[in-house]
Symmetry: C2
Subunit: 418 residues, 2 copies
């Protein structure tokens, strides 16, 4: 609690946020962390389906409920935002959202293809209301793509964008990368683009329409594998990284550590550009006897005998825990990383002390420790504030943006519009 | 060629770019694509080590060479930038870079810990020269972390940031996700932060210091696995996604397609929030006979028999190619994604037509097809321009920023300073 500062980079910027789940919410949350006023527009009663993802709890199977059954997932992508409920199927609800859009600087949506247009909130419509708006759309597939009308979730984007094809062991089917790059990876590219557009608008007053597809966004993260295909003309094979690859960089793999649990590994890597890494590694391992040995002294020599080199490294790593191995090798200025699991990261003292993980106090969930925006501003992290309760900011936002008074708000409530 | 438009969002913004390899260059390249003037400062003779990564070519093992042996890798992360060579070990070279910093809006560096400070270009020094500068640093580990002084490359960040722990098959060692999330994933978070800071500066004139660590940045992409740990109190196990998980969402896996090659799979997923997905999938598969069958009709029921459900889906997918399966299932509004490999993506007609992949004509490499910034601005992608030759823009930048004339530039060349 109390870690970090309230950033004001985007102070005064108003965002109307029609996003759900992760690709859109991760984008608008980064704006909220930078100080924008991000207002989630949610349907009364249910809200963002990301509120109700916990299996075995009410609502997880599409049932109607007002319970947030998975507040943890929802917190992660909606911290620091406001929530306004609005029934967009009622004429009055739609009228109010149009009034909000007139006052907004940015609008972001990641609904299924065609949905925002069916609501009467297409770019052409909104641009008429507010020519200066930055109108942002995140979809699974690009306009003009053969899959333009198809739905996508994280894993679909990761399949169609190539990240799955290059992940896994060479002798097995591919596997999905664990992180939700399809969602958050896309959200980050939209955030960069809209901030660029906002910067321009601050000088010209000119709005614009931004569109990104999750499949296309994955290709941005696939540029190393794609550059290998440019060199070889072949699809990049999977490389599970449990051993160094013949002809590749050596050593460059995950090495087993004691006590041998499922994540007791350390990644050790000697860069191509830094021949001194190998010499330093030999010293850490007490294997200076191999220094000057032509079988191992250059990347070219090691590339001829990866199994031998891996055995030399693993002989040493097996005698150490992953933390010891990372500390000792890292201190010798050789790149090394222990494979930390999610529980170790949740409990990591340094991440909490440095405000990379922060604990919020949420009115219904209680204390939740969660990742914050990881970039420091003048040495300080942004302070995480709890995600909003459904409709928590109706009075605040409709009052301050549109000047609605208590009586008008009461009427909207009575009619089920908010 | 000629696809896309030159974006001018960041027109007039000057970036002094001390970055190398990928984490830093991916950040500054996004600025260049948005129209900033990004000037890479490279040492004369060698330049960014990212220019020389191709194995078996001169320079790959740290040897001195002026050949760009791997232009493909370098192009991907340095398109649309300028290159100025400057010997920062000479007093005059350092003086010139200090003059450039006085004229700059943004500085970005991702050198090894302590290096920029040893050059006399710490934040305190640069802030004295230019109080309005946005000074950005990307390191492997955070200030105050036990690994603060350690080196990191992509895979080290992915190990220490948890992404490796959640990737792979449950019965095998973990594997590194194929995309270079440790590098580009970090660069994107810095880009968002510096654009926020730049927006604020446009109103206040106030600069700031931004810092991000690659380990910390990975945690931003790990929020779904971390939210599961919050629910269960356990480390998230790996799930290779070659089958649906008992008790999880079903179906939610990679299903085999014909003709059975290493990437002939389609990801099929029925969302928890959309019970209609299963009914639609049954129709595509010609299995309406199962509609209404209580064994399969709800996520809860399917979660009890994932192997049975997977067999039903795989019976159908095996009769189709991954493209057919993706097209047919996607057209029925059920999320589906073929596992495209890097060669298929390089040759994909839609990606090229839509400007997501663009072909540049580079003076020494010739034609190179490469990914562009995937976000469209008013329907158009940003135009990719070739990465610079080493020192290509010495005259341009030192002339236009500092007013150096031909005689002064000639003298600098003679002395080996540029």
């Amino acid at each position: 609690m109390g870690v970090g500062v309230e950033l004001d980079c985007l102070e005064g910027i108003r965002v109307v946020d029609f996003t759900q789940f992760e690709a859109g919410p991760s984008c608008t949350e980064s704006l909220a962390w930078l100080g924008a006023e991000v207002v989630k527009i949610e349907n009364p009663g249910l809200g963002d389906p990301g509120r109700r993802l916990q299996k075995g709890k009410p609502g997880h199977d599409g049932a109607q409920t007002i319970t947030d059954s998975d507040p943890w997932y929802f917190h992660q992508y909606n911290a620091n935002k406001k929530s306004v409920t609005l029934n967009l199927k009622s004429p009055r609800g739609l009228e109010i959202v149009r009034e909000l859009l007139k006052k907004a600087d940015v609008m972001v949506e990641n609904m299924a293809p065609g949905t925002i247009e069916r609501l009467g909130l297409s770019y052409d419509e909104v641009e008429k209301l507010n020519p200066g708006i930055i109108y942002c759309q995140i979809k699974g597939f690009g306009t003009g793509s053969p899959y333009e009308k198809s739905l996508a979730f994280d894993m679909i984007a990761q399949a169609a964008g190539g990240t799955i094809s290059v992940t896994g062991d060479a002798d097995r089917p591919p596997v999905k990368p664990g992180p939700s790059l399809g969602d958050t990876g896309t959200g980050m590219l939209m955030a960069i683009s809209l901030l660029g557009a906002l910067f321009k608008r601050s000088k010209t007053g000119q709005g614009c329409r931004l569109q990104v597809a999750m499949q296309d966004a994955m290709i941005h993260y696939m540029r190393v594998p794609l550059s290998k295909t440019q060199l070889t003309g072949q699809a990049v094979p999977r490389d599970g990284t449990s051993r160094s690859t013949p002809g590749g960089l050596v050593p460059n793999a995950l090495y087993p550590c004691k006590p041998g649990g499922p994540n007791d590994y350390v990644y050790v890597f000697c860069s191509r550009a830094n021949p001194e890494h190998w010499q330093r590694l030999l010293k850490v391992m007490g294997r200076e006897d191999l220094s000057g040995n032509a079988r191992y002294d250059t990347q070219a020599a090691r590339a001829e005998r990866p199994a031998e080199v891996d055995a030399i490294v693993a002989d040493w790593t097996r005698k150490h825990t992953k933390e010891e191995a990372m500390t000792l090798i890292g201190a010798a200025s050789v790149p090394a990383g222990a494979v930390f699991d999610t529980l170790e990261l949740m409990n990591d003292a340094s991440l909490a002390e440095r405000g990379i993980m922060q604990t919020i106090d949420h009115p219904t969930t209680g204390k939740v420790k969660m990742p914050a925006w990881p970039v420091r501003f003048d040495g300080e992290p942004a302070r995480v504030k709890p995600s909003p309760l459904l409709g928590q900011h109706v009075d605040d936002v409709l009052g301050s943006w549109l000047g609605l008074d208590a009586k008008a708000l009461g009427a909207l409530r009575k009619e089920g519009i908010v």
